[in-house]
Symmetry: C3
Subunit: 126 residues, 3 copies
């Protein structure tokens, strides 16, 4: 059920954007127990002056390839599972489309199972 | 007080977007106890490769008219009220601008009453 | 660690957008205990029909300069600190780039410390 919003700098080819979104989904499949075909993702591309980030906050050197990922999901995962997700997203994005781990920022927002309607005006999870 | 963010595929006329946003607001008026004039909504339009969704997740057949609606609201509604909201949004969007229930995805994010400032630097709800 | 998403009407110069984002960051530095260089912000510009808001909800007269600010942060701040943040954002934006307090809308979304990865696939706050 996650809703994923991703923000990147403009200028990447479609294959890059496609791989980025796909690998984040696959990472959720790997460690978040997300079923096949359960992805709802929007990506926005930004000019230099509308996506800002600390270039070295916490000693991590970020580049123009910075990726801001916000995932809204149900509040059912342990801290260990969340840590595994961060690791897995970084690993997958490093392999394809080739994003350095330093450039991968992830923020989770958690909600209850009553907070989802996947269609037809129904609350499918309660 | 809800903040509503909507993502759709690009290519719809302004009348369609206007009806979509208006009907989501009216659904919140109907069942969420939202006062008149209490709407704060942003819509983003996406090319095919920047708005992705499972075409048949949970057996619901989604089309290019898919609408991703994220509503941030105070945490004061029961499960029954949330279910009524999903139903009402689907009913209203089906009537105008004519969106199939299968294409209407809704996700609620809940916050406390201290988490709002409607202007003037004040926290109007506490 | 906050993630800040800002929506405004299109048509402002880059200096305006830059000042807007910078001052919101400085307000978080002032009262939210945000460290130097800790900013992750995306701004979206909207045509008239994709950013809607109640023009006089709660008796506050909003103009086309309306700014919708959503901040996702850890759930560690008291109500007093949140109120101080709203005040500070309004004060700073009034000074630069010159936005009336009536046009400044702020919504906070709170998450736990486990919900952040600032890079390298790590959960730096736990």
């Amino acid at each position: 059920m996650p809703v994923t919003r991703i923000a990147i700098r403009a200028g990447k080819p479609a294959t890059y954007r496609k791989a980025l979104m796909h690998e984040v989904y696959e990472a959720m499949r790997d460690v978040f127990g997300v079923p096949e075909d359960d992805f709802f993702m929007a990506l926005s591309e930004h000019e230099e002056d509308t996506l800002l980030f600390g270039r070295s906050y916490l000693g991590i050197e970020r580049s123009d390839d910075f990726v801001l990922i916000q995932i809204t999901a149900s509040n059912t995962r342990s801290e260990e599972v969340k840590k595994a997700l961060y690791r897995r997203i970084a690993e997958r994005l490093s392999a394809s489309p080739g994003i350095r781990g330093e450039d991968v920022f992830v923020n989770l927002v958690e909600v209850t199972k009553a907070n989802w309607s996947f269609g037809r005006g129904e609350a499918q999870l309660i």
